[in-house]
Symmetry: C2
Subunit: 584 residues, 2 copies
């Protein structure tokens, strides 16, 4: 061992001990015949002192060491005259008597500090240096801790972690599968799993009644700002359970993580139906850290010759508390915000409920003070509040109003990253109708079970059938989701029919699972959490990238190792492949 | 929840409780107006009783259920008159009052019992049914437990589990890399890691001084009997350590696993040099459950006109205790064994040390009783023992004698699967000379550090340089291996030179790691364990296959899901690929 202690553990209790430390030079500075070195490792920083008068030769050598050099120092723990309350070792320093330079370092391309001067691209290229920064490293520590506590909890609940294969088969609809040519089976390909869904269902058929796995999954899709081609799921499945059992089990897991990792006691999670979530927040993953629910006011706006509202399918308001004082400029900003192409509203109507009790709105031409008062009353507005109103077709407008609500929440400081509001969204629709293709698609996947009481609707009104499907939402982010699965062959056949599968197609795509179901499938259901997102919520990060050790960029590239890359022809030949680039 | 209890937990203490169980029908049998059903789940088997006299309708329905049907039963816990001491629930039975058939089952293609009638191929095709068998499922439980305890131990030692990427870059020498075409980067490929070696070394550069990961690795090679294209490693690395620190840490891990998982207290592991292992056992992974060390006797055999021995570079014996009574047939079997092409010996010489003190050998023509006595004495043989002797070139003969020794160990019942002999083999040679190519190769990998005291030999006698490399061997199986790495750029350059790399080639292949090493690499080293093999040793399995939930066969195929498979042209087009099968 190159050290007796880490750079984060020596205290005033260790006074006069002879110690050996090893680590990286955070900084070195000379001060009147002394050299002070901040020595850093994963655990902290300890100050070393080299004294010219005591040991000139040693001090001379110490004067040469630079930032990020790796050194080993022997010395004695002494009390600092000038204590540093900001670091845990701030009461002591090491008076060095030996110095061993283990490695030198070139000047790093950016500073290894919390506030680094390195831009994103540079940090990614030199990720191994970026990971030396406290804040980045602590994300990895958090991730380790969350994964560890997840396993502790589930192990305690009799779950078995079972590894499912990474080299699996591609499905004909697996357009976003990564594929892997097999050298031993010329012309044939494996695929990487987008999720272990079918395997975990097979494990249920096997009688492994409580399965989980923290597992890499893969999706070859154009990467939105916060997606990665490889991502990690906490994948879980249980047999002989109803929806309620799953919700309780994984609410328990989430509480355990908050308690053990962040020291936060959470109370029971509220449940909200999908319909309510859409109606009140315009989203199936509402941020419930703040209220500001949608209030529908269309009935109050009708018949006053304001054709925009009169012709709209849907008119709804949100109430921004204390914002009647918003300036014209601020209101214009909000109007611009909702008119951005990503949001796409035609315009924004506001009503200021002035502190003197009068109303001022952008539709004063059409509505009297009394009219506006009825709106304000329905919104529970008080003098000083501001109403923001959007209108249009229901679904589109709800989405727009959702964005506006989130924006107002941010502006008003209502989205505190240290506050955690957890929520179950339940009763998702089983099916989604695709207008273009004129048919239903499974909202979740074709194995999701309808609610038993809604099964009769499968024939009469499929769109109204609710599923035993659920999402866990924290602060407006979907952290996990799952469903109770169909385990009855007849019901499964019916589902395939509704989804427009021929029996043959169902067999081709899901044959081995359907076959397995013939041999005694138990009732089962499950859930999968996105670990990357779960960690980033815990860490208060805006992106999942900084809780991943070696992430890829938006083009799916690892710029540090420069992958992917072209292969040598020899290697392609071995795999019986030719690259055929399309003409542009 | 479909049950109040599992099928493995009810005891005499639960008498008269109303319970609900759910599970699979192991078997059902009628006996005089009663139907007895063995209900099985992951936790055990509980006997259910349906009584014709008490509830005829229920009994009628129960009479229809078949093997592997999934049922839910409500009933009362009663004491059995006819107790079954072989199962944990054998003191009780459930008098059923309600029966709910959750799912039917076709007749399974093989019996779901420890001794199944299903052959390997059938079991693999219906792996989800195979996994219902107690012995197969218990291997997965063992695997879970070993992985869990590995994480517990390493977490307690401040190790961080860090996920390294699965989509990485291929190296020019990565002939056995699986590759993955990137849709977003046309014509370019990722590779799947054969190990996270470079990433874990980068993490050391990052200051994550204790890293581990239980991680899937991939190798596209012709599969020997007991290899899988995807396999799982316990991958570990530490900074600021010497070899001794790594050996202690991971001997500690192994002891922890034996203690917590198998209840076995291991004493400290012996250390054996590579040279001794080859000399005494002819293998770098000796099975030390039994002694039977090699004894070199060439000097004793010379000059007696037996040209076979006289012309051999190496003559050595093993002593099979109490085997002087071996028959001609048995000796012929052994001769055939060593002459098999996989072993390749020319012949086998034996010396029987008869119980009357005389010797009988296959070389009596050349050697006197006194000659043979000197051999026996050197081998510490007693009357009743048998000496088995091979000769030839040193290395080849050692390997042959190793196989013979293992065969004799098996025949003599000295390789008890419930006994565990752990061993460190250390001081591996750094380099291996390839006679054909006329140059040195790294025995481990090019980053393995030579022993500091051997560095001067790098110039004068590279083949004699020992590495700071080590293997952990249990019962003749290499469970793990690793090394201290080079962290000094100059030494690394020298190594590349010896290995025949130009600077340019070193840069192409290991550029990003070499660059990282410029910014302050700490001294570091590590080890990786093969989890599949570790579990199979614990389970006493001959193959790793049965400790993997969904293994592939010798052609790398998953016969259950029928992967790999051909892709549709559309999907190939998306990936800019064409399949170009070679002419046979």
């Amino acid at each position: 061992m190159y050290r007796t202690n880490t750079c984060g553990e020596l205290r005033i209790e260790n006074l006069n001990q002879e110690v050996i430390l090893a680590g990286w030079v955070q900084k070195a500075r000379k001060m009147g015949g002394m050299i002070f070195v901040d020595l850093r490792d994963r655990y902290g920083i300890t100050q070393l002192v080299f004294n010219q008068e005591v040991n000139g030769e040693l001090c001379e050598r110490a004067s040469k060491i630079g930032r990020e050099w790796v050194i080993q120092v022997k010395g004695k723990v002494m009390e600092r005259s000038n204590k540093n309350p900001n670091i845990s070792t701030g009461d002591i320093e090491i008076i060095a008597c030996e110095l061993n330079i283990l490695n030198v370092s070139e000047t790093p391309p950016f500073t290894i500090e919390e506030d680094t001067d390195g831009g994103d691209d540079l940090r990614m290229k030199y990720r191994y240096l970026d990971l030396r920064r406290n804040n980045v490293r602590s994300n990895l520590e958090l991730r380790h801790r969350m994964a560890f506590e997840t396993r502790s909890y589930l192990n305690g609940q009799q779950f078995l972690e079972v590894e499912t294969p990474v080299l699996i088969g591609s499905t004909p609809e697996g357009a976003r599968d990564f594929v892997v040519p097999s050298r031993m089976n010329p012309g044939e390909f494996y695929a990487l799993p987008q999720s272990p869904q079918t395997f975990k269902q097979l494990l249920m058929v096997s009688g492994i009644d409580r399965y989980f796995q923290i597992v890499k999954c893969f999706r070859d899709e154009d990467l939105r700002a916060d997606r990665q081609p490889e991502f990690t799921q906490i994948d879980c499945e249980m047999s002989f359970v109803q929806q309620e059992d799953i919700l309780n089990m994984f609410e328990g897991l989430t509480k355990h993580l908050f308690k053990t990792v962040k020291g936060i006691d959470l109370s029971d999670f509220p449940r909200m139906s999908y319909d309510d979530a859409m109606k009140l927040y315009g989203s199936d993953k509402p941020d419930t850290r703040f209220d500001m629910k949608f209030v529908e006011i269309q009935d109050l706006t009708k018949g006053k010759d304001f054709v925009v509202f009169d012709s709209a399918e849907y008119v709804a308001a949100i109430r921004a508390e204390g914002c009647a004082s918003y300036t014209r400029k601020q209101l214009d900003e909000l109007t611009d915000f909702v008119k951005r192409p990503q949001i796409g509203a035609k315009g924004l109507v506001y009503v200021r409920y002035e502190t003197d009790g009068t109303f001022k709105s952008s539709v004063d031409k059409f509505y009297s003070q009394d009219d506006l008062k009825t709106w304000a009353q329905r919104c529970n507005a008080k003098p000083g509040d501001l109403l923001l109103i959007l209108c249009g077709t229901t679904e589109k407008t709800q989405k727009q109003l959702c964005e506006l609500r989130l924006e107002m929440g941010s502006r008003l400081g209502l989205r505190d990253k240290s506050q955690f509001n957890c929520l179950w969204v339940v009763d998702f629709p089983l099916l989604e109708f695709d207008e273009e293709l004129g048919r239903y698609f499974a909202k979740h996947h074709p194995f999701t079970s309808p609610k038993p009481e809604d099964i009769p609707l499968l024939d009469s009104n499929p769109g109204a059938v609710r599923a035993n499907a659920y999402d866990m939402v924290i602060n407006g982010v979907e952290i996990g989701g799952g469903s109770i699965r169909i385990y009855n062959s007849e019901l499964q056949k019916k589902m395939f029919g509704i989804l427009g599968f021929t029996e043959e197609k169902a067999q081709t795509q899901f044959g081995f699972l359907m076959n397995a179901f013939k041999f005694g499938a138990p009732p089962h259901g499950g859930i999968a959490f996105g670990l990357d997102r779960f960690v980033s919520i815990f860490a208060g990060l805006d992106s999942i990238r900084d809780c991943i050790a070696f992430p890829k960029n938006n083009s799916g590239r690892d710029v540090m190792i420069d992958a992917p890359a072209v292969l040598e022809q020899e290697q392609l030949d071995e795999l019986n492949l030719q690259v055929a680039l399309k003409q542009k």
